[in-house]
Amino acid sequence: MYAQMVKSEASTDDPALLAAFQARIDAGEKIEPKEWMPEAYRKTLIRQIGQHAHSEIVGQLPEGNWITRAPTLERKAILLAKVQDEAGHGLYLYCAAETLGVSRDDLTEQLLSGRMKYSSIFNYPTLTWADIGAVGWLVDGAAIMNQVPLQRTSFGPYSRAMIRICKEESFHQRQGYDLMRAMATGTAEQKAMAQDALNRFWYPSLMMFGPSDKDSIHSTQSMAWRIKINTNDELRQKFVDQTVPQAQYLGLTIPDENLKWNEEKQGWDFSEPDWSEFYEVLKGNGPCNTDRMEARQRAWRDGEWFREGLMAHARKSAARRVAAE
C-alpha cells in the first residue's frame, strides 16, 4: 500500500448534508471536485493521495540507484521507463490532490519538512540487481493489491488516476517477475542474489498493507467513505496467497518457517512481520530514511534557481506581450 496509516478526520459538518453525502457514496456515485464534501473527507483524501504521490516520487530513488548499473541495454531501458512511469504517477496524483484545493508546492513542502509521509518500503535499500526484480514483483505486487480496489474509490479524480496507474503497475510487476526469473534460473550467484532479495523484501512487503485491522484506528470512516475498500488483513492474505506459488515456480523459498497451506480457509498461514521494525521505520529509523529525505531535499534546494529562472522568464515574457499590445 502506498498510503499507509492515513489518519482520518472527525466530521463537524451539518448532519443532514453528511447523510446526503453518505447516501451518494452508498449508491456508488462518484464525488467530483466542485461538489460539496465533508471537510474531513477532503482532508483525509489530501493526506492519502498526497502520501501516495510522495511515495511515487521517493520510490524513484531505490530503483534509480541501479539505472546506471543495469546489466544490459534492454534492462536499462525497462528500468528507465519504469522509473519514468513512477514520476508520471506522482504527477497525476498531485493533480488529483490539487483538485481538493492544495497546491503541489505545498504538498512538496510538507514532504520535505517531514510533516507528510511516504510509504515505508522505500526506506529499504536496493543492494543487488535482484532487488530491482524483487521491488517490481513484491512491492509493485503489493501496491497493485491495494490499488486495484481503489479504482472504484468514491472520489472521481483519484479513481481515474488509479485506473491508469494500475495498468502500468501490472506491467511493472510482470517485468520485475521476469527479472527474478532470469536471476533464479541463472548462475549460482544470480540465484543467491534472487533468494537474498526475497529474504530482505518479504516482510517489508507484508508491512505495506499496514498494521492488523484490530490495531488500525483509521479504517472505519475511510471504509464508509469508500476511500479504503478492503481491510489491511484481507489484502495481506490475498497478497500472500498470490505470491507463494509465484515464489515456488521460481524455486525460491519464502523466508517463513510457519508458512503452511490451510485447507479450511483455502489460503496460506504465515508469520506476521515484526511490527516494532515497522514503527521504527515510520519514526525515521529505517536503513535509508535519512538518505531518501536528504536526496529529495537536495534536489529541491539545488533546483530552486532553475524554477525561479523559469518563473522570471514567464513574467518577462508576459510583460513584453503587454507592452507590445
Binding site: A77, G303, H313
Partner: protein, 282 residues
C-alpha cells in the same frame, strides 16, 4: 541390440557454433570499408550511450517532477538509439558481438564517443547546456544520415530524428528561458556555455575514416554540419541573452578512443555487473 544410429553430433560442436556466430573471426582490417563503417557506427552508438548514461544519472534528482520525466524520456530515446547503432555495428563487424557486448565489454580506448557527452553532469544548467549544444548537432546529423547510401543507416536515422527533433525543441527552449531568466540563472547558463564550449569543436573535426565514409555517401562529413549548428546556436544564444565564446580551441580525441579521466569511472559503473559476473545471462 538397438540399431545403431549415425552420430550427428560432432565433438567440437561448441567451437563450430562459436565460429558460425563469428567468434574467433579475424578483426576487421583497418582502412577496409567494413572497418570504417564499424568505426562510424560505434561513434554514433557510443555517443548516444554515454550521453544516455549521463542523463540517466539525474533520475529522481531533477529540480522539478516534469524534468525527471523529460530526462528519463531522453535517456530512454538515447539508449534505444544505442541499441540500433551498436546492433548494426556488431552485425557489420561479424564477430558475434551484439550491442550489449559492445556496450559492456569494451574498454575506454575502444569507445568512440565525443568528449562532450562524457563531461560530468554538473548542475542542471550544465546538463541542459550540454544537451542543447549536442542536440543542435545531433538533429542535422540525423537528417543527413537519412540520405545515407546504406539503407540500414537511413532507417535508424529516420526513427531517431523524430525523437531528437523533440529533444532540440526542449533544450533550446529551456536554454532561452534560463538565459533570459534571473540574474543567477543567466550566470549559471553562461558559465556552463563557457565551460563546455571547448568540447563542441570535436563534432566538426573529420579524420580519414570520416572522409572515406563521406566519399562513399554513408555518413556526412563532420565539417558539413557546422553551418546549421552555428545558425541554431547563434539564434538560441541571442534569444537567451547569452554570449557565444570567442575561442575556437577544440578538445579532441574521443572519436579516436582517447578519452578524459571521467570515462573510466563512467564505464566502471556501467559495466560492473557484466564484468563481475561474465558468465551470467541477465
Amino acid at each position: 541390440m538397438a540399431p545403431s544410429l549415425s552420430d550427428v553430433m560432432t565433438p567440437d560442436a561448441a567451437a563450430l557454433a562459436a565460429a558460425a556466430g563469428g567468434e574467433g573471426r579475424a578483426p576487421l582490417a583497418a582502412g577496409s570499408a567494413d572497418h570504417d563503417l564499424f568505426t562510424g557506427l560505434t561513434r554514433l552508438g557510443d555517443t548516444a550511450l554515454i550521453l544516455g548514461h549521463r542523463v540517466s544519472e539525474w533520475c529522481g534528482h531533477a529540480p522539478i517532477l516534469e524534468e525527471d520525466i523529460a530526462l528519463a524520456n531522453m535517456a530512454l530515446d538515447l539508449i534505444g538509439q544505442t541499441q540500433l547503432w551498436l546492433g548494426l555495428a556488431g552485425e557489420v563487424e561479424g564477430r558475434g558481438r551484439d550491442a550489449d557486448a559492445l556496450a559492456f565489454r569494451r574498454d575506454a580506448w575502444d569507445f568512440h564517443n565525443l568528449l562532450l557527452v562524457e563531461r560530468p553532469n554538473g548542475d542542471f544548467g550544465m546538463t541542459l547546456m550540454r544537451q542543447f549544444l549536442f542536440d543542435a548537432w545531433h538533429l542535422p546529423l540525423l537528417k543527413a544520415l537519412e540520405g545515407s547510401t546504406d539503407a540500414r543507416i537511413a532507417a535508424i536515422a529516420q526513427k531517431a530524428g523524430k525523437e531528437v527533433a523533440y529533444h532540440l525543441e526542449r533544450s533550446a527552449d529551456l536554454v532561452i528561458r534560463l538565459g533570459d531568466g534571473t540574474e543567477e540563472s543567466h550566470r549559471r547558463m553562461q558559465g556552463a556555455l563557457d565551460a563546455l564550449w571547448g568540447y563542441t569543436g570535436e563534432m566538426f573535426l573529420g579524420d580519414a575514416v570520416d572522409q572515406r565514409l563521406a566519399e562513399a555517401g554513408v555518413m556526412p562529413a563532420p565539417e558539413s554540419l557546422r553551418a546549421v549548428w552555428d545558425q541554431t546556436v547563434d539564434q538560441v544564444l541571442a534569444e537567451a541573452t547569452l554570449t557565444r565564446p570567442a575561442s575556437t580551441f577544440a578538445h579532441k580525441g574521443g572519436k579516436q578512443g582517447r578519452h578524459s579521466e571521467h570515462m573510466g569511472h563512467l564505464l566502471t559503473t556501467m559495466q560492473w555487473l557484466q564484468r563481475a559476473y561474465p558468465d551470467a545471462k541477465w
